[in-house]
């Protein structure tokens, strides 16, 4: 029943690139809980488009650098 999302992300790498930003700090900046950041990083949750753009904005990169979708 539960299908894992095919969307992958580079949030973990981006956090380390941004001065080892913690999950808690990132969560505060986009207005979600730390558990949600963990779930997004592990591919267990696909955030809304709104939150996806906010994540990209925090790292100052385009959306494609944060989330990737595999070719068919």
């Amino acid at each position: 029943m539960v299908k894992p999302t095919r969307v992958t992300n580079s949030i973990r790498a981006l956090r380390f690139g941004a001065g080892e930003m913690t999950q808690a700090e990132l969560a505060d900046r986009v207005g979600v809980t730390r558990q949600t950041i963990i779930a997004i990083e592990q591919g267990r949750y696909s955030p809304s488009l709104e939150t996806a753009f906010q994540l990209a904005r925090v790292f100052g990169v385009p959306l494609d650098d944060v989330f990737q979708y595999p070719e068919e």
């Binding site: 539960v2 809980t33 558990q35 949600t36 963990i38 267990r44 955030p47």
Partner: protein, 138 residues
């Protein structure tokens, strides 16, 4: 393992639902079916009080995260409630059929109560699975 406020509340809801119904069945077995009305009311009220106390306890144990929820918490809550509500409908149908056949009130009340318990149990299990494994992709 990091657990959000709503996930802890879902755990408490599951434990209270199972324990509450277990206590009801044990007391019913001890006192006999004739005593079911006060026992049923007592365990329902007891479960509500236990849930409120659990919620307060969870809030006190981590005040910073108390009542903090985001889009994921809300989506999971809606999912869990929808799964649970299927059993409320089943309970209503069971009560309808039992009433049509003029089954004793004992069975009608107990069928509805069991459906409420199943709704709480299955709904909170669905919630907890969604927290751990992710929401199903449609």
């Amino acid at each position: 393992m990091s657990v959000s406020f709503d996930e802890k509340v879902a755990w408490a809801y599951l434990v209270v639902a199972v324990l509450g119904y277990a206590v009801y069945l044990i007391l019913l077995g001890v006192n006999g079916p004739g005593a079911y009305v006060p026992l049923l009311i007592g365990t329902v009220v007891g479960s509500i009080v236990a849930n409120i106390l659990a919620r307060i306890g969870i809030s006190i144990s981590n005040p910073r995260e108390a009542d903090k929820r985001d889009q994921r918490d809300r989506e999971i809550k809606v999912f869990g409630e929808r799964v649970g509500q299927a059993f409320v409908v089943i309970g209503a149908l069971a009560a309808l059929v039992l009433a049509l056949f003029e089954t004793p009130w004992f069975w009608i009340a107990n069928a509805v109560y069991l459906a409420f318990v199943l709704s709480a149990v299955v709904g909170s299990i669905a919630t907890l699975v969604a927290y751990r494994k992710g929401l199903p992709a449609w």
